[in-house]
Structure formats: C-alpha cells, structure tokens
Symmetry: C2
Subunit: 227 residues, 2 copies
Amino acid sequence: MSVSHTGARSHQNAQASRSPRHHPDEAKQLIVERAFEFLWEHPFRDLTVAKLMAETTLSRPAFYQYFNDLHDLAESLLREIQSVMHETAHPWIGGGGGPNSSRRVSLAGVVRRCVEHGPVLRAVADAAPLDERLERAWSAFMKSWDDAVEHRITEHQRQGLIRQSLDARHTARALNAMDASVLLAEFGSRPQGDPDAVLETLHSIWVGSLYGRSPKRLPIPKHSGTT
Amino acid sequence: MSVSHTGARSHQNAQASRSPRHHPDEAKQLIVERAFEFLWEHPFRDLTVAKLMAETTLSRPAFYQYFNDLHDLAESLLREIQSVMHETAHPWIGGGGGPNSSRRVSLAGVVRRCVEHGPVLRAVADAAPLDERLERAWSAFMKSWDDAVEHRITEHQRQGLIRQSLDARHTARALNAMDASVLLAEFGSRPQGDPDAVLETLHSIWVGSLYGRSPKRLPIPKHSGTT
DNA sequence: TTGACTTGCTGACACTGCGTCAGTACGATT
DNA sequence: AATCGTACTGACGCAGTGTCAGCAAGTCAA
C-alpha cells in the first residue's frame, strides 16, 4: 500500500551485520531452544517476540518466518514436551504389570519429566487460554491422557478390579486434571516441590479412589438441615 | 510533558453528551455488572477496556478511575464470587454432620455456584497467570479451601476415620485442585456439563481416597523392568 | 443569585508490542 | 560471471494501554 518509506534507504551504510543464514529448520530449532531457556526463568507473560529474538543473532521479524505468533511457538514447545512425556508414560498406557505397580512407575516417570520441564509446561498451560488454537492443542494433549486412563479403567472393570458403578470417563478426566494441576503447581515454578511427596500423594489418591473399597456407605445422619 | 495539544480545543461544540454523574461505588458496581455479562458469553482474552466501556454510558478512561487495569477488575469479580461461594460452603467448613453427608451437600452447593458463575470464574482463572497480583489473589482463594479441607482431614484423622499415614496438606491441595480443574472445565464454558454426574464423580473420588480402605497393598509383581 | 471549590468525567496523547511488506544481499546453480 | 531463489531486515500501520490537562456538573458559602 504505502510506499512512502521506500527509496529513502537505498543502500545505506551497508555494513549492517546481516546475520549468517541458517537452514530453515536449524533456525527454528534455535528459537525453540531460546524459548525453553527464557521460560525456564520467566513466566509466559514476560515473553515478547522482541525479547526472545534479542537472545538470537536474528532480528524480530525473522521470528515470523518460523511461527505465526508466540502461541504458535508455545504449540511447538508443547509438541516437544508431549513426545517426551508420552514416551516415558507408554509402559503404563501399553498395559501389563500389576494393577498399581506399573502405574506408579509410570507416574514417577511423568513426575520426573515435570521436574525437568515444569516451568515450560506451565508456560504453555498459562498461555493456552489466550489463543483458541493453542487451547485446542492443550485440550488434545489432556485428552490423550484421558483416553488412555479411561481405557485402562474399563479394562480393570472387566477384570473385576474396579467397581462397575464407577464412571470411567469422568473419573479418568478428574484424576488427570488433578495430576496436571498438582504437577504444574508443584514443579511449574521455582522453588519446585518435593517429587517424592507429590508422587506419594497422587498415587494414593488414584489407588484409593479406583481400587479402594468404598466405606460401607456410612448411614447419612438425618439432620440434613445443613443447606 | 508535552502540552502542545492543549488550548487548541477551548470550548468545542459543547453539546458532547456528557454522561450523568454517578456516585463512585455506583459506577464501579455498574462496570462490574457489565463485566459479568461480557464474560458470560466471551472468554477473557476478548475483553478489552474499550469493549467493556462501550457497554456503558461512560468513556474508556473512566474505567481507570475505578480499576488499575483489567486484572484489577478480575480481582473484584473474584472477590464477589468468592464471598458467595464461601457462604454456600460454610456448613461443611464449619464442621458437624457425618463424615461425608455434609461434605456432599456442601459440594453440591459449590457445583451449583459454578453452574451460575462458571464462565466468569473461568475468566478469572484464565487471567490469573497474566498478572502477579491477580495470581496471588487466586492462590489465596485456593488456599482458603485448602486450609479448610486440611483442617477437616486432620480432624477426621484424630477421630480415626482417616488413616494416619495420609498427608493431610498435600491431599487437601490435590483434591481441591482437582475440583477446581473439573468444575472450571465442565461449567466454565457453554455448553456446560452435567452437574449430577460431576458431583457424583468428584464425591466418589473424595470419599474413596479419604475414607476408602486402601486395598491390602497388592503384592508388587517382581518384573519391575517397566522403566 | 453568584462566585468559588470539588470532583466525575473526557479527548487526546505517548508508548508498547504486534504482524506485515517491500526490498536487500547472501548462497547456490548454471 | 550472471542469474535465481530465499533467508533476512528496516520501517510502517495498527490495536490496545495508561495518563494527563482540562471541562462541566454539582455543592456549598456568602
């Protein structure tokens, strides 16, 4: 549209230190790395394209060659972490092992990953509500866990290890939501919490709510006046 | 600093429809109401000061007479909802009633409040990570629940209703985090979920993990090779 | 009534960060 | 050496924010 600004520059001074050219994927990965570094020490709200690219030899507009915006970048971070997480949790998802042994081992792996990438993962979670696409990506991420857990629960229901009256879908979602909240809260910002205590707490809730015999429905006292 | 723009206007046309003056708290409450309306239908990310005040007879700068920024407004929304929620949950916090009866009644009340104010509460939760002050306010909000639950758990531990080995603090935080996540997910955006199913699921997890006899520690299979 | 004071409110400004574009120069290919 | 594709950049327009000097509606005193 407006061209008024062109022509005025021509070939100004020229020794303007153009950065060395990268292969596209190379540069993209470089930006992702800087983002990891930044988000390890700062919350997502402090991240701007300018700040991020300042940690680079590239200029701010270069960012937009590789990402649509910061949320798009966050989606890449999520994908990266997601692949690592799914990998360490696969043994449990895949099935096999006792009713809670491999579950516990798997959870321990997830906890470990959260200790490693907590702040970054939290950044993604924080950013999710700000962008529809990213929000969907986050939902899909959570859904993948929900599906796995739901499948496992129904399987155990068929084996009689879990009572039939339990709503597999809702329960799976609730327990996963709990894990996510707790893990992000405990390991999403420094100083991080105690991995062992968290693991123990989460595991005991999972086991208690899934496999624990519910108490023989204690008689409900009749003074139900408590509104 | 620059004053160049003054004096040029003098007393321009003058019939510029100045809005009727309000008493301060009156106008503030009016803005809060508009915010409630807006956030009931749109996510927080779509809220801007201009859009909000456009629903008003006031101008955009007037907003800053009553709030520092949108996060400050969100804090007001939170306080408003918080008072209502604590009120309906008080019977359980106050104690009395059977181990799970009043707990259930109380939870039902909270669920109801979330059906009413879900989207707004979600907006606050979404906005929390964007501002340090608001983030702290949200944490304090959650902490008030955590404290109440922790207290209740230790009380029941003293009565022998809950096993001593359970970590009251961590468990309270985890269960509350679960409730918050699930409630915001189910009722934070339309179409909302099924209140009864959610209530049932959450309640059963609480009861199972707190009061349920944990299964007699199933023997851990020896093929611990699942990394 | 009138003048002086208070204060709710507003137009206009500076500023920050975003996303885009025409245009440049580097490296590869011939 | 000439050409071409493309990684990259300076500069722009835009959206939204927070602030300020100034205005006018109300109040009170004389």
